[in-house]
Amino acid sequence: MAEVIASSSPSPVSVRAIPRSDADRHEARAAWMLAAPAILLTFLFIILPVCAVVTLGFTDFELGYSGFRFVGFENYAELLNDRTFKQSLWNTFIYAAIVAPVSIFLALGLAMLIEAEGIGRSFFRTAYFLPVASLIVAMATVWQYLFHPSIGPINALLALVGIEGPNWLGASSTVLYSLALIGIWQTVGFNLVLFLAGLTAIPRDLYSAAEVDGARSAWDRFRLVTWPMLGPTTLFVTTISVINAVKVFETVKTLTEGGPNKASEVLLFTIYQEGFVYLRVGYASAMTVVFLLILIVLMFVQYRIQDRQVHYT
């Protein structure tokens, strides 16, 4: 409590002894005010809609029909037997299992090459980043053409070396891999930029130390310095890559519509299809809930496993 003494003394002498909680309260109030818009918007545009989705997941709501009733776990029970959903889960898994690791390691390799190279850094950076910045709606058309089984440049090039190219987007056996290729093309640049940033932050001295310690080959230095020092970057890149891979949608929507015969059905596409095409909002919401749970579990597990290992303090 502020205690004013010597109020009778000629020159007003005063004291500062505010109890701690008072000052802290002032700071906390400022903090709340600064964070308030963010909290409000998060609530409005993330929390509330997620709650709505969870609620809708227990109903049979269909767009176009008014009214709905609560059906408990019926939607979830139906999911268990839904062939499309299972196929779509599996496809998403395969897609992510290809795109995430390949784009991470490719980006890492390219980043190290660029970092080691003196000239053309910004050119290469831009060249590899360009796909990240491009309109997939439009690029899909180009890819569709590049992948064309008979007039496409890829197969034409393969034919030059005597290989009969596959029917990339047309055959159910290859469509997912073709989409994965596009996915990699789209993701590498993003990861690359992050890795480049990570690489520049590694102290040069560590490489010198490794050399003096007898790390003769580039591989030894990679194992001893680069890889461990990139740990936090790799964790972040992995997180982002996995999330993005699981969220694949645009290419499927624009190139294959999940076909042929569901060979390229992926989770978000199935959800979109159920919700906006078949208009079964309740059922789609149940799928969304499952999708969110998968993401959350994935991230939780990953952080538990990796976080310990990459932050060295």
């Binding site: 906390a28 964070a35 190279e117 053309g120 831009t126 360009l130 590049l146 007039i151 969220k247 789609a284």
Partner: protein, 278 residues
Amino acid sequence: MTSNGFPPARIARLALLGFGALVFLSPYIFMISTAGKTQSDIFTSSLTLIPQRWYFFENFAKAWSRVSMPTLLFNGVVVCLLILVIQVIVAVPCAYAMAKLKFRAARAMMVLVMLGLLVPIHATALPLYVGFDRVGALNSYVALVAPFTISVFGIFLFLQFFRSMPDDLIHAARLDGMSEVGIIARVIVPNAWPAITAFSIFSVVAHWNDLYWPLIVVSNQAYATPPLGLLYFRAAEAGDDYGALMAATLIITFPLVAAFLLAQKRFVEGITMTGLKG
């Protein structure tokens, strides 16, 4: 490590990088080539990059006139800028409070931020659509912008950046007589440009290219964004006008590429400094 001389290892490295760049750029090469071709020149069985008839002007003219390109670009710029500005105005103070003020809720907010990172617009589109309909806000800039005004990614990124800013700087500002808002406006933001640039690239790239949400909330062409406009060209049923489509794509992609080229140095710097790398 140095750039003088061309030993074999270096030649191999350059060759590898060059080849990779060629592969990554090849779709663009075809795009540019196609934008210069007549409709009948495009799907031929012979692979030529050079158009037989130079048709760039016609295709660009067509792209410019068939959809109202100025409106599309204008909408794209307005939407992206609104989103970006609001995102920054909302995220920066929040991140500042979390990073530099004694704030009991900071931990809970951190959890919220991490969860928020996981929720894609695809997951919440349906309830949001219904909500916007209820308030009669479909087909407006509000509908295009509002759901993205909160960027948890932005909060996350700025948080990392602010944590690395020295406390003393903020103390000095308080001693100099600034309020918390004053500190944000006069000290934090002017020094957070690398982070803001990095974030801007992420944000603008994402929203300039977003198709999913505009497709749902916009049916009035007056509010169409560039990707939506491109869809006019991409009718599903028959062979489309690919030359013009590619020309339109180039027009729409160009601002982004230019922006990246201008900002790329700061962008990488920003990522490095935000500790996004870890």
